[in-house]
Amino acid sequence: MRKALSVGRKEVRQILRDRRSLMILLFVPAFFLLVYGYALNWDIRHVRLAVEDRDRSAASRSLVSAFVNSGYFDLVADIRSPGQVTELMNRGSVRAIVVIPYGLQRDLLAGQTVPVQVLLDGDNANTATTVMGYALTILQSESSRYRMVAGVMGGSAVMALPRVWYNPELRSTLFLVPGLIAYIVMITSVVSTSLSIVREKERGTMEQVRMSPLGAASFVLGKTIPYYLISLVSALAILLVAMVLFGVPMRGSWLVLLATISLYLVGALGLGLLVSSIADTQQVAFQIAVLASFLPTLMLSGFIFPIASMPAFLQAVTYVVPARYFLIALRGIVLKGVGLPVIWPQLVSLVIYSSVVLLLASLRLRRQWS
């Protein structure tokens, strides 16, 4: 154990001396957090809206203000002639246009159904769908108001009153930050562990150390503990920064969080060790490490694409992606405040994953050691 500590102390000194490792460990996470935190965002706000109000009544004004007050739309143009509609859309100066027909107020009060036209710019299908959802919600709530006023029964007597839990404003940042932690921690720990071991192979220091009575286990332990600590700090730092910058809540127990991150890290470091047992040059190690950590964690973990909507084959693959379990657990702890009674299956999966990876890595490394 004292020998492992010697290795660990040496490793820390090397990390502090080596600008490249430091960059990977400190700046890459910060950079990712800012880029993804600010840029990767599906919330659609400030939709530029134009209104062609042919009715010009109290009812139509109330409808327009319902759009503006929703917070999603910015009223940028008031259309006076029908020709403007095409022009505004073509130039892309508005994404949505609401056309209110003549006689809106009169017909509404008479209890009749009035068609209100919503024109959407469909060049970005995702945005258009979301904006359509906003518009429909606004129109529905307005129309129900008038039905009450007019005393009309029938129509839609049952109304959905949606309420979103945990993330009432549906801010995608809340959803993304746990994914970011999984992603950043996975990349930095796999890349840095594998590089640090393969570097020793490449420079011949590994051979020198193998000549000493230091066992393979002490060597690996000493080399990975510093990266474990750094990655742990890095994960917590991401969470803290996200809490301050993006208003991410931390509703669960810090202890459970720490345990979850630690389990995930052990798996990630194990994967790094496995990579280092396969690669003989830093270049190859880097490529394999990025491929093995970056792609699955980004694509197959539920970070961005929901696992439930993947084809069955890919869904099967996600079972060997540790980030899958980690994300469910992390979102549970951070957003829902749930604890062990809920997330234990994820933790068990992480334990299994880590054990298998560590076993494989240690078998391979031990064979190479002697």
């Binding site: 020998k3 040496k10 420079r203 220091t205 051979e207 020198q208 000549m211 000493s212 230091l214």
Partner: protein, 309 residues
Amino acid sequence: MNAIVVNELTRTFGDFVAVDHVSFDVRKGEVFGFLGSNGAGKSTTIRMLCGLLNPTSGTANVGGVDVGSDPEGVKRRIGYMSQRFSLYEQLTVDQNIRFFGGIYGLSGATLQKRRAFVIEMAGLHGREQTRASDLAGGWRQRLALGCAILHEPPIVFLDEPTGGVDPVSRRQFWTLIDQLAEGGVTVLVTTHYLDEAEHCHRIAIIHAGRLAALGSTTELKRVFEGRTILEIQSDDPVQAMRVLDTLDDVEKTSVFGTAVHAVMRGSGGGQPGSLQSRLADAGVQARRIDPVEPSLEDVFLEVVSGAGS
């Protein structure tokens, strides 16, 4: 008292026999040279003796420990330094010493004492905080040696320790090796600098996995007993060699710098005067022809060609 006893040591990789039934003993306090061209089996032998590689057959006993059954025990008793001077380049002199001390289980007063010894031995006073990468070759080499003997091993393996180091540093280094041996440390050193091999008490020449010759420099040179070696200086050594090879009493020739060494057949052969005139007949002007003592290089070439054919 033998520090290393090697008996019929063999290692194969698939069909390839890297080390083929090699046997030799190394006495305690001896500087034992291991000579051979690249791929001759030197490194494989050393790796087996260090406990890094299991022998396919045969045994080796290093410092009283059997290599095959207790490789970890061997590792505690030996120091190892290779031509790559495997130091941690980003770490300082002091940090390297502390690290290697740490993995050999040294601490406290022992570590301090050994650290002072290594700094002194390597002449690194005032450079304790210099990074290993900033040291000149000779210093790095001595630091690497220091790190390899921190734990005071009775046996030290040096695998081509002087590669890429200037001649002055090489000389200093051999002085250190001599001092180690005087202190009772057994040194097994591989090299392909033949002038260096002359420092060794005994030399093993290894060729194609087999032990081709073994003995002190003087003993090895007896291979030429009853034969004469003539050194021929001429303006055109290549042409001289070509002509010499056609002569009946010339057994073999080899180039030494601008001179040619000719091994003459039989004790009677090799009259410098007659050779000079015969060369002149063939149009080669020899400035001087002198009988010379066989050098280790002559021995090496002789042994290797003999073993090869």
